[in-house]
Amino acid sequence: MVLTENGSLIFRLRGVLEFSCQLDSSNETQGQSAICKSFQALRSRVSSESLVFTLCNSSVLLWPNKGLQSTAEHLTEGTPCRDIQQYREAEDGGSKKSKRKDKRDAGPSVVNLKLLWEVTESGESRALSLCRVAKQQHSARMPLCVDCVFSASGQDSLGSVCSGLVGALCGQLSDMEEVVLKYRKGSSLLLPQPFHFQLPESSGLVTVIYPAGVPDSQLLTVREELHGKYGLPSDRPYFRRANAFHFPDEAYKDGYLRNPHTRLTAPNVEEAKVSVVRGVYSYHHYMQDRVDDNGWGCAYRSLQTICSWFQQQGYTDRAVPTHTEIQQALVDVGDKEPRFVGSRQWIGSIEVQAVLNQLLGVTSKILFVSRGSELASKGRELANHFETVGTPIMIGGGVLAHTILGVAWSESSGDIRFLILDPHYTGGEDLQIITEKGWCGWKGPEFWDQNAYYNLCLPQTPKTI
């Protein structure tokens, strides 16, 4: 495990706090004050001495409100916070592969903490009593899943980090209170859920509370406010749930590789400007999802990669479409006969454009080159696309389809390289093989069939948040 020196750390505290309150069904204002009181009680509990943090994957316990009492001898209030990483038990693995990955990771390390309550106490005790209140009411109970982050540099003291986390926790409870009150309907309360977002030109994370069960489409005004507050342009989403920050230590549950191109070294082109896709996409290729599309499905897979980009940048909630859904979409727009569905017929850039429009409401520009050799001269146009739009490009021609993720283009010499994601790969999700064998790699202009014609589909982004 690589320890960051004075590098930055993200401390992430998660836990569950049970919220409960009694609501008088007939009295609106009583409900409001009851909810406020319950949150106030939670905030005081969080500031009390019974709050305990435990370092995940270790037996270290910390009492942040008790002068940072801890079960680890060498951790005190003044200890630099990076020292806490030493106590983490090595997770299984630590193979050569992951060590290599660590070195390339420029991002901050995440230290995960969990929230616990101490129910035992020493000192003054109160006699046990039982109170009964008789009143027709509604009892509401829900578990609040808190998720706070606190960024620190390695040499910041552990004491300051812990008080920062306690402060973040209180702040989060207040934010949750606002959301619960805002979306309350009588005695129906929606669960407040925290999401973290990383904004451009900022190293810290912004935490926003959204009510569970309310889709992004109904939260537009909330996002408009946030865009205003943080001075963000209103032409692309930053605060949709899909835009939530992905913590480096959490694996993606669906198993697809994300952004394999970030593992590559830059191509060796003199004075070249490198322009690549922005954001996150998943690598879709032959044989995935138990679909044997070897030999015919390359354009479908490129289309899936593009759809995954739109979904992960928050432009759509729609899941990445299957081959069948893609074919059905083409039938629905009248482009194909119904028997197209279930067939193994190829599709091209025009069909990709049609499906993106039909399923995601995304328009695309089509770029045509009559000979593959002309692609070498499209450097400026492609660079401009990646700089301003940033979506992956599907290119089809001859008998093959590929995805272009970026260009390295020198304005002075005209030298060009293309960052290609190849959907023809039939193996497993092995990042090392994929990057080493060139399934994702930088290719020169000779990669294209010099005599064949090519159509490129350049998806455009809707101006929406």
């Binding site: 049970e18 129910v119 009143k135 009892s139």
Partner: protein, 445 residues
């Protein structure tokens, strides 16, 4: 190869004196601690004599064995198990019969063992784990020959047959058993409905019990989750002094069910249990594991709260609903040393009782004379009720409709609390009355 019971010598003396006394059959409880390897019996207590309240059926003279009322024995066992600290349980029963009844004695013992187990586990809020020993010991003693036969039955299996077990006496078994202590803060708010307030209470307490059970336990600052030994570095000294171990319990409030919204239920009121309880558990010295010690103390935490709530509700029902004030003090826990051992037993003292009442109960339930001075009432603080405390407590519900004292009820007669125990059987059989009584209390329209 059956189980092996190591028994305190004082138990032998007690059983001998019981056998010698003239009379018919006698039953009683055997109390101690089980572990995977060895079992220890530290105390034997005879079943108290039942004052016939005209309930016994004397028309048919079936014989002294049939006179033994299984419900009565079980109820005594249930109430005694309330007096035992964590780790110490009712392990079984003894039966002393004259020689001619020796044959039927085993059958009788089997029936009693199952009845006792059923009664004790009825109100238990925690589940048995894989580690728990489900064998219960029976000891049959012939009053004439003083011969004792020891067998065990597995209470998990009603069809099981008796297995032979070893019974041997030793002195000072428990004098150096380590004691685990902690004080636990309780703050529970349980919504109740008119029709099923008892079920709601049990459900609410059960949820809390599961949190405690799943909690992380620290013993003298070290986590107690793995299989490590509790008493590390202990030298082979038989006269070890008793270690006192401080316990801390840390819980999470996780709800396994994922939801989008709050769980809302209509209720006719809520019950709030608040305060601090002192908890205690003992563990044997035969290479005990930390997780068994943790389990023993956690169970004591759950038991002491649920026992007290149960006792208060029983008391209210006994006194015909009792005073209809909102705040009731739950009885406070007091401890008394068990002579000849390192253990203490506990009892619960209602606010209007004194140490003398406790001593009387100890005599009644555990059949021994204890000195009043020996009863330690300092462990938990007495209730101090003042108007300001009440108001602070009820801050949650401003201007809420309060419990109106029901004028039709008469002021309860202050009965001797000891008489409660005699009617314990009636309580066990008439649980349904409880629901009615509490629903009357919620009558507030």
């Amino acid at each position: 190869m059956g189980r092996g019971y190591t028994v305190e010598e004082s138990v032998e003396k007690y059983l001998t004196s019981l056998s010698a006394a003239a009379g018919s059959c006698k039953t009683g409880l055997l109390i101690g601690q089980c572990s995977a390897q060895k079992d220890f019996v530290v105390l034997a207590v005879k079943t108290p004599h039942r004052e016939s309240e005209g309930a016994s059926d004397s028309r048919r003279v079936l014989g002294p064995l049939d006179d033994i009322d299984a419900d009565w024995v079980a109820e005594h066992a249930r109430q005694v198990s309330r007096m035992l600290p964590g780790g110490v349980n009712v392990l079984g029963l003894f039966l002393i019969t004259p020689p001619e009844l020796s044959k039927e004695a085993q059958n009788k013992l089997k029936g009693l063992i199952f009845a006792v187990d059923k009664c004790i586990s009825k109100s238990r809020l925690w589940d048995l784990s894989e580690d728990d020993v489900t064998d219960r010991v029976t000891l049959h003693i012939c009053s004439k020959t003083r011969k004792a036969i020891c067998k065990t039955y597995d209470v998990k299996d009603p069809k099981c047959s008796a297995k032979p077990a070893d019974w041997k006496y030793l002195s000072c078994i428990s004098s150096s058993w380590p004691v685990l202590t902690c004080s636990v803060k309780v703050d529970l708010q349980i919504p109740v409905t008119e029709s099923s307030s008892e079920k709601c209470m049990k459900h609410g307490l059960g949820r809390w019990a599961k949190q405690i059970e799943a909690g992380l336990c620290l013993i003298n600052g070290r986590p107690a989750s793995d299989d490590s030994e509790l008493l590390s570095g202990s030298k082979k000294s038989t006269k070890m002094s008793q270690q006192a171990l401080q316990v801390q319990i840390l819980v999470t409030e996780e709800d396994p069910v994922q939801r989008c919204s709050a769980v809302v239920q209509a209720s006719s009121g809520s019950v709030h249990v608040r305060g601090t309880v002192h908890c205690r558990a003992y563990i044997h010295t035969n290479k005990p594991r930390t997780r068994h010690a943790a389990q023993a103390i956690k169970r004591d935490v759950v038991n002491t709260v649920s026992n007290r709530v149960e006792m208060l509700l029983e008391d209210l029902q006994m006194n015909e609903g009792g005073p209809a004030s909102e705040q009731q003090d739950l009885p406070r826990r007091v401890f008394a040393p068990l002579p000849g051992s390192g253990l203490t037993v506990c009892d619960y003292m209602f606010p209007d009782e004194t140490a003398a009442d406790v001593a009387e109960r100890l005599k009644e339930m555990l059949d021994w004379e204890s000195a009043e001075e020996d009863i330690d009432t300092s462990v938990e603080s007495p209730a101090c009720r003042s108007a300001s405390v009440l108001e602070a407590d009820e801050g949650r519900d401003d201007g809420a409709a309060q419990d109106v004292p029901i004028e039709s009820m008469t002021e309860p007669v202050k009965q001797q609390k000891t008489s409660q125990y005699y009617a314990g059987v009636a309580v066990a059989a008439a649980v349904a009355l409880l629901a009615t009584a509490t629903s009357l209390l919620y009558l507030n329209e």
